[in-house]
């Protein structure tokens, strides 16, 4: 027994020794083999198949799966149902509805619905994405050293977006952020005209001035300055095949095919200079202790929840709107009296849209305003 123990120990010790001094592979480089182009799927990946009832060599598959068809679940949608669902606008303008607008009208709408987050003229500065103010020539900028004072590339609508169709589609279905799908088609035409004009995008070589009427025909003439700024081409007849060609060759994007094993030259060790750890919420901790009791902030009431759902997108950010609990910001407002605050919340006031853009009943809006006041006293 004792003898056996000793033997185990010594074997173990010799393994341990090997572990401290890693045995280097004999080769300097090892090439990793992959499938041929033909054997790859559309993304350059290995094209796994079902073989002997097993997928990719690991998952068993019911062999009936690939033979049977004729499940008759569901039903055919009505023409109306398809029309209501089909809200996209493709790059070739398929799906763009009729309508018209002007940049002047768009300016007004933008100030009412958008500038509180995207800044005046969409120039940014409020923490939300900027929508204008970039040069296409900046796209080649590379800020390798943040302390160099070099400019990074500015990727905004005018400098970067390849298609204006995307702008129409996204403003219609994604903005304004707190309540999308609330703008009429004409309003979207106007806002798009405005955003194109502040980005100095031209139509047929002409600037978009305030009163130029932008309708479907006119908008479809827009060619964005950076339309050729993207590769591979997927719109032509080869379609996704060009992606396959690109993705199958890792050299195109810096990934390798060879493992360097010995005397490689990766460079120097670089430590963290500008740490972002401070901003992590909550701070990172590996402690296993009991959580501290949280004080109830009265946040459980009905109006607190409604505030969270309908108002917090603006009123949670002091760059946009007064945040409940910020006594300094609220004191002068509360001074105006409850009735004025109700009125402003219901009918709108400067950057504050009527009812915050919701269609909540008046009583609920008032309830939320009470909650906001209560929190800010």
């Amino acid at each position: 027994m004792l003898k056996l123990n000793r033997k185990t120990v010594s074997v173990f010790a010799s393994i341990a020794l090997a572990l401290t001094a890693p045995a280097f592979a004999a080769e300097k480089e090892i090439k990793v083999k992959g499938p041929s182009f033909k054997e790859r799927s559309i993304d350059g990946a290995v094209d796994y198949k079902v073989k002997n009832g097993t997928y990719a060599g690991v998952y068993k598959v019911n062999p009936q799966r690939d033979k049977i068809k004729g499940f008759s679940y569901g039903r055919t949608p009505t023409a109306n149902e398809i029309k209501a669902s089909d809200i996209d606008v493709r790059y070739d303008w398929q799906g763009l509805p009729d309508g018209k607008g002007t940049a002047a009208k768009g300016d007004e709408l933008f100030n009412k619905h958008c500038s509180m987050c995207h800044g005046d003229f969409g120039a940014g500065g409020k923490g939300y994405p900027p929508l204008s103010g970039g040069e296409k020539s900046s796209l080649k900028n590379q800020l390798l050293d943040p302390e160099s004072g070099d400019e990074p590339p500015h990727k905004v609508i005018g400098s970067y977006w390849p298609y204006a169709s995307t702008l129409w589609w996204y403003v219609k279905t994604g903005m304004p952020f707190p309540h999308p799908m609330s703008l009429t088609n004409d309003e979207v035409y106007s806002i798009v005209a405005y955003l194109l004009s502040v980005n100095e995008v031209q139509i047929d070589g002409e600037d978009i001035d305030d009163d130029m009427v932008i309708d479907k025909k006119k908008l479809m003439k827009v060619v964005m300055p950076n339309v050729d700024g993207f590769y591979p081409d997927v719109n032509g007849k080869d379609g996704a095949l060009n992606m396959k060609k690109f993705l199958s060759n890792p050299q195109n994007y810096g990934t390798q095919t060879v493992r360097c094993m010995k005397n490689c030259e990766p460079g120097e060790v670089v430590h963290i200079k500008n740490s972002l750890d401070e901003g992590i919420i909550p701070p990172v901790s590996e402690k296993r202790d009991l959580p501290k009791e949280k004080k109830s902030s009265g946040g459980d009431n009905k109006y607190a929840k409604m505030f969270e759902a309908s108002c917090n997108s603006c009123h949670g950010n002091s760059a946009i709107a007064p945040v409940p609990g910020d006594k300094e910001a609220w004191a002068p407002r509360i001074k105006q009296g409850k009735e004025t605050l109700y009125e402003h919340a219901l009918k709108g006031f400067k950057g504050m849209p009527p009812k915050g853009g919701t269609n909540l009943p008046d009583a609920d809006i008032k309830g939320i305003v009470d909650y906001m006041i209560e929190k800010s006293k």
């Binding site: 890693p22 280097f24 990793v32 499938p35 799927s41 993304d43 350059g44 990946a45 290995v46 998952y59 019911n62 799966r65 008759s72 679940y73 055919t76 949608p77 398809i82 669902s85 996209d88 493709r90 398929q94 923490g127 939300y128 994405p129 796209l139 080649k140 390798l144 590339p153 990727k155 390849p162 994604g174 952020f177 999308p180 700024g229 993207f230 591979p232 719109n235 992606m243 690109f246 993705l247 890792p250 994007y253 810096g254 990934t255 390798q256 493992r259 490689c264 030259e265 990766p266 460079g267 060790v269 670089v270 963290i272 500008n274 740490s275 972002l276 901003g279 990172v284 590996e286 997108s313």
Partner: protein, 446 residues
């Protein structure tokens, strides 16, 4: 031999029992003074041995031990587009074991908040270039023959704060924009047999029913290959953060393409060019041109133990310790992982452990005897597609530092003599700058 061991164990058990009994007796009746060498956790009766535990009906849907409250998703203002409705909550991958992410910890990226869709009003509509357009309710969809697959989902912006220099000293914020689950649903190629895709259909628009109406274009080849409509993760319904009740699963591809709260599939002859495939999720390169539609997540790996969050500060010089981590590739199956102790000059092979699945996290392991000296640890994965994880300089020399997405360069940890672990880069800035300038110049001349 076996008998003898058994006997020994039994003897030992009896011995321990006697000690325990005498300690309890002593503790209860005549407390013995504990010596400095004794651990009170062993001498004293543990808290829950002296009272009732929780009733079994306390949590009818269970929660983790309160002691694990620090294992949670975390956020950072700089990683948002303005507020916490267009932002990401990072997965604490440093605290995960094995290859499955518990549903409550799965990373959470939203472009217009997390929608809580009513399953009774849920409809999936399939139309466009198909023989038979279709509407399905949730229950009808779930009637189709189901399959379960284990795949990671990774946001292509994972690790994007590291293009220029290291900036975070926690794994959660370096690589926490990914998680892995077992997904259950129906393969689209099975469902679509009944719909009948027209030969002219080359692309599919997948659209979500959230605030952003997330729309993404997928080529028909992927739809017919391994794409699925999934309604379950890790054995239960999808979480709202993961797209309840139904999301698209495109194994191995950018997280954003796995459209959540899926409500519509439209088949077309051209791609769409949505906001998330033009303004965002495209990779600007030093030539001023951008790569569009970069689908798969490239081969990648990171050492999770040790890491800044899991240091070796408790190790003694000469201790044996397991180095382990995660490797993954959207291009295929992990074939192997190499480890370096000198910042990438020399490499040795680690072992894979556990399940090795296509387009899935795979654990690797290396048992090491640490002599207490500083080292620079790193891992490098390779896959069966023939692809090898690049060094930082190899990647940056090709892509520059402004691409935001698809950063898969080797991660290195500095282990200090005290066992502290720091995120460091090993790179050759001069070489990177030269390559970038060459590309910029080439683009000007062209």
């Amino acid at each position: 031999m076996e008998n003898r061991i058994e006997n020994k164990t039994e003897q030992r058990r009896g011995f321990l029992k006697n000690i325990a009994a005498s300690v309890v007796a002593a503790g209860a009746l005549a407390p013995v003074s504990m010596s400095a060498k004794d651990d009170p956790a062993l001498i004293e009766e543990p808290e829950w041995g002296k009272k009732l535990g929780l009733p079994v009906d306390k949590y009818l849907y269970g929660v983790p031990s309160p002691y694990e409250h620090n294992v949670k998703r975390r956020v950072h203002k700089l990683l948002s587009s303005g507020d916490m409705y267009a932002s990401v909550a990072m997965c604490p991958i440093q605290d995960l074991e094995g290859i499955i992410t518990p549903n409550g910890l799965f990373f959470n990226r939203a472009h217009g908040g997390v929608a809580i869709v009513d399953p009774n009003k849920y409809r999936l509509i399939i139309h466009g270039l198909v023989e038979k357009p279709l509407v399905l309710t949730l229950d009808q969809l779930k009637r189709y023959p189901s399959e379960s697959r284990i795949h990671f989902i990774e946001c292509p912006a994972n690790g994007s704060t590291g293009w220029r220099a290291p900036q975070f000293n926690t794994l959660q914020f370096m690589k926490g924009m990914m998680s892995q689950a077992e997904w259950t649903g129906v393969k689209l190629s099975v469902l679509l047999k009944d719909v009948g895709v027209k030969p002219t259909a080359k692309w599919v628009l997948a659209e979500g029913s959230d605030n952003s109406h997330m729309g993404r274009t997928i080529p028909i080849e992927k739809i017919m290959d391994d794409a699925m409509l999934v309604w379950a993760q890790n054995g239960e319904a999808l979480r709202p953060e993961q797209g309840y009740p139904v999301r698209l699963l495109v194994p191995g591809w950018e997280g954003n393409l796995n459209v959540k709260w899926l409500k519509r599939l439209e088949f077309g002859d051209k791609p769409w060019h949505a906001k998330e495939e033009t303004s965002k999720y495209t990779m600007l390169t030093p030539t001023g041109k951008a790569v569009r539609y970069f689908w798969p997540m490239e081969v990648n790996s990171v050492i999770t133990h040790p890491s800044p969050d899991k240091p070796w500060t408790d190790l003694k010089k000469g201790d044996l310790v397991e180095i382990q981590g995660l490797a993954w590739s959207g291009h295929g199956t992990i074939k192997g992982v190499d480890i370096t102790f000198d910042g990438g000059k020399n490499w040795v092979e680690a072992s894979l452990k556990g399940l090795v699945l296509p387009k899935a996290w795979t654990r690797f392991s290396y048992i090491y005897k640490w002599d207490g000296k500083p080292i620079i640890l790193g891992s490098r994965a390779y896959d069966d597609a023939g692809f090898v994880q690049p060094t930082i300089t190899e990647e940056v020399s090709k892509m520059g530092v402004e691409g935001i997405y698809h950063r898969n360069a080797i991660v290195t940890w500095e282990v200090t003599a005290k066992g502290e672990v720091n995120n460091v880069h090993v790179r050759d800035y001069k070489k990177e700058r030269e390559s970038i300038e060459k590309m910029q110049k080439g683009a000007k001349d062209a």
